[in-house]
């Protein structure tokens, strides 16, 4: 009996994994997306070594210079090299995406597990609170939280994480409900394994795949949300760059220095697009129907 329960998920996994990899590799869009993302992550990690200039070094003699051989993407309102700021800004933007989703999952998934697994009054309470949070518009919630916590990148990440949290709670709960009466869970319960053990050992691994897909897609919207908050002045604070805060200053120079807004905008767009492509690829690969 003890051998039976863990065997069930374990047995299907190798097969699942190879089929999943095969399908994911067959998806060109997802592969390209993943490749570009890896490149961006490398760029962000290697920023100190590959950035051609100091992203914070102001140069009052070369303010708002158009792209040239010296400054590939031009300079900004304080004469800083936009390429270098873009490279360093990748750090904040990617970090914002990753950390805020981590926060969202760290809170949302346990809540969803509890609600789904235990049910009853606890479930009703959690579900109602999540429902309430979901019916506040995402950005409004993030703006209010951002204003509450004070403008900074860390606080923006917390705000975005908290606003995205209910999605994970709801998704997890739904997944748990759908497998709640599977044999291996009934079995594990029947032999009196502690709930905590069951949830972590049997429930969580089985609800994980859709969560991974959701996480990838949420990173995409979290990066957009960070850009939006920075655009409103609630994200990364100067002089440190993030793509959103670069856009926030750039919007004052649309006519005088259009390159200031075009470059970071494209960076955000490409990154978010790649996360979406990868998310799609993962979903298709994990979907048992197709």
């Amino acid at each position: 009996m003890t051998a039976f329960a863990p065997a069930a998920p374990a047995a299907v996994q190798p097969r699942l994994r190879s089929r999943f990899l095969q399908k994911f590799m067959g998806n060109k869009g997802a592969l390209i997306g993943a490749a570009i993302l890896i490149l961006f992550i490398l760029i962000a990690l290697l920023a100190p070594w590959i950035a051609p200039a100091d992203p914070l070094k102001a140069n009052f003699l070369s303010v708002r210079k158009a792209p040239s051989a010296e400054f590939w993407f031009g300079t900004d309102e304080l004469g800083r090299d936009i390429l270098s700021r873009l490279i360093w800004g990748a750090r904040s933007s990617l970090l914002a995406g990753g950390v805020s989703v981590a926060i969202a999952m760290a809170i949302g998934v346990p809540l969803g597990l509890i609600a789904g697994y235990f049910g009853g009054k606890l479930d009703a309470l959690i579900s109602h609170v999540m429902e309430a949070l979901l019916s506040c518009p995402f950005l409004v919630l993030a703006i209010a939280l951002g204003a509450f916590l004070g403008p900074s990148l860390t606080n923006a990440m917390i705000a975005i994480g908290l606003s995205a949290m209910p999605i994970f709670a709801r998704l997890t709960r739904g997944q748990v409900l759908s497998i709640r009466h599977e044999d291996y869970l009934e079995g594990a319960r029947a032999i009196g394994l502690p709930d905590r053990w069951i949830v972590l050992r049997y429930v969580l691994p089985n609800v994980l795949p859709p969560l991974v897909v959701q996480a990838t897609l949420t990173i995409a919207s979290a990066i957009l949300a960070e850009a939006s908050l920075s655009f409103l002045g609630l994200g990364q604070q100067p002089p440190a760059p993030s793509w959103g805060s670069m856009l926030n200053t750039a919007k004052n120079f649309l006519e005088q220095a259009p390159w200031m807004s075009i470059v970071p905008g494209i960076a955000i767009y490409v990154t978010v697009l790649c996360f979406n492509l990868v998310g799609d690829g993962l979903r298709d690969a994990l979907d048992p129907k197709s």
């Binding site: 102001a58 002089p239 649309l254």
Partner: protein
């Protein structure tokens, strides 16, 4: 509303003036005014609207002297305890109520006693208002007040219809200005229309004046260029080149009254306990590390006026003999060495979280780092900024002041020990004495001497470091003629018209 419109339409038809097309002047303003009640309102945008909506007792000229408006003449008694004003005859409010000495008394009382009046401090010196005759009032003051006329040239001197002021005034303001209130859509528009019984109606040429709040400076300019607006105010310095290059536009760049200053927390709570708060040499070192002209060039295209004092160059109180210190990094380092502080000196600089303030903050950060300061820039939203500064939760705060025509309003409340805006709690008794005295002296030369002494103390202590004055940049379509710019940036519509 509709029947009234129809009626006016019919009247116009019978008068035969319907052949003349209705003229509408559209003015783009930076933000939406708050309550439209001069005694209770606080925004600069509100003052822009009042310029057309409400008459004042006196008006301030481009040279910062005072001209008659509803008061045709005024004089101080010999002991400077009573200001007597003669009022204009034949003036009516938009609702038909007459303007007279009773109305002046009512308005000044209202401004002084309304619980949420923001004009109380401006009229603090007023003891009582006496109706001497139908068109003569005497304002008795508690102590001589050299600033009173200047206060009456702004919202404290605006005259509301006493009847309307008793009701819900803000939703339908009634004054006696050349244009009367028509309609307001929050955050969208304020529509005024010509007041046919205005005492100087021949000088006003539009049937309608519409104020449209558009916060984004470049968007405001784009609307002006496309012809959707006729006038815009607060043009961004970086947009001036574009505006000037457009052959359909004219740009007025007038030195303004508003300035930017750094306020150092020297005695307001825990955050004052550091070298910056305790040692004026460290503050001087900070000031010397800043190149005001470079800020002007980089951020403001050289259009602003760098300054180390709170009075504009055009003011007669501007002190020529107090030169603006040039940037001197060596001296700054020497001062820091002399003060024996631990290097680098960590400083927190709080700025508003708008791009311009942040840009200036970043330049200060870069410049002072060369002298050995390590500036941590803290961008804070406006609403939080105010309460944080008041609570002493700041080390250096960068804040803007819109400026007043009288020197008192630019300095007293910021640097006196109990000043309402003295967030750093700097307190120098001799400075208080000088500035309090300057309030009571009517003689300009004498006053100027008092302010000169005060400015030297401020410059020596460096608890308030002045950076620059911002000009009032107004752009308009070339078809608009007759506009006279004023340092206060208010758009007065007298004689303004579309070229034929």
């Amino acid at each position: 509303m509709i029947p009234v419109r129809l009626l006016t339409g019919a009247l116009l038809l019978t008068l035969g003036t319907s052949a003349v097309a209705e003229t509408t002047l559209r003015i783009g303003i930076q933000d939406d005014p708050d309550v439209l009640d001069p005694h209770r309102s606080r925004t600069y945008a509100g003052r822009l609207v009042y310029a057309a909506l409400c008459d004042k007792l006196v008006d301030v000229t481009p040279k910062l002297t005072y001209d008659p408006d509803l008061a045709t003449s005024w004089s101080w008694s010999d002991d400077n305890q009573t200001l007597t004003m003669k009022l204009r005859d034949g003036v009516t409010f938009h609702d038909g109520e007459p303007f007279n000495a009773e109305a002046v008394k009512y308005n000044l009382e209202r401004a002084r006693t309304l619980p949420d009046s923001l004009r109380k401090s401006e009229l603090a010196s007023v003891d009582n208002v006496e109706v001497v005759g139908p068109l003569t009032v005497a304002i008795h003051v508690k102590q001589p007040d050299a600033t009173l006329i200047s206060q009456l040239s702004d919202r404290a001197g605006m005259m509301l219809s006493p009847k309307a002021a008793e009701g819900d005034f803000a939703s339908h303001p009634v004054c006696s200005g050349p244009y009367k209130f028509d309609q307001r859509v929050q955050q969208d528009r304020i529509v005024l229309s010509r007041f046919d019984n205005h005492w100087s109606k021949a000088a006003y040429h539009f049937d309608k004046v519409v104020y449209l709040p558009i916060p984004d400076t470049s968007v405001r300019l784009a609307n002006l260029r496309s012809g959707d607006l006729d006038i815009i105010e607060r043009v961004a310095p970086t947009d001036v080149k574009t505006a000037k290059a457009d052959s359909n536009l004219q740009v007025f760049n007038t030195p303004g009254l508003g300035y930017m200053q750094l306020i150092v927390n020297v005695a307001n709570g825990e955050k004052a306990n550091n070298p910056m708060g305790q040692d004026k040499r460290v503050r001087k070192a900070f000031e010397l590390a800043i190149d005001r002209e470079a800020i002007n060039q980089v951020v403001f295209e050289g259009l602003y006026a760098p300054s180390n004092q709170p009075f504009p160059k055009d003011s007669s109180y501007f002190d020529e003999s107090l030169p603006m210190p040039a940037r001197d990094v060596e001296k700054s380092k020497a001062l820091l060495a002399e003060a024996g502080v631990k290097m680098p000196v960590n400083v927190q600089l709080t700025v508003a979280n708008n791009p311009i303030a942040q840009q200036v903050g970043q330049i200060i950060q870069a410049m002072t780092s060369e002298a050995g300061f390590n500036v941590n820039l803290v961008a804070t939203e406006y609403a939080t900024l105010l309460s944080e500064q008041q609570a002493g939760n700041f080390q250096i705060g960068m804040s803007a002041w819109s400026g007043r025509p009288d020197p008192d309003g630019d300095v007293h409340q910021f640097v006196t020990c109990k000043g309402a805006q003295n967030d750093g709690h700097a307190c120098f008794p001799e400075l208080d004495e000088l500035l309090n005295k300057a309030r009571t002296v009517n003689d300009e030369a004498q006053r100027k001497e008092l302010y000169s002494k005060a400015l030297r103390i401020i410059a020596d202590q460096d608890a308030n470091i002045y950076l620059y004055f911002d000009p009032r940049i107004i752009a308009m379509n070339k078809k608009v003629s007759g506009f006279v710019p004023n340092p206060d940036g208010i758009i007065r519509l007298k004689d303004v018209q579309f070229a034929q």
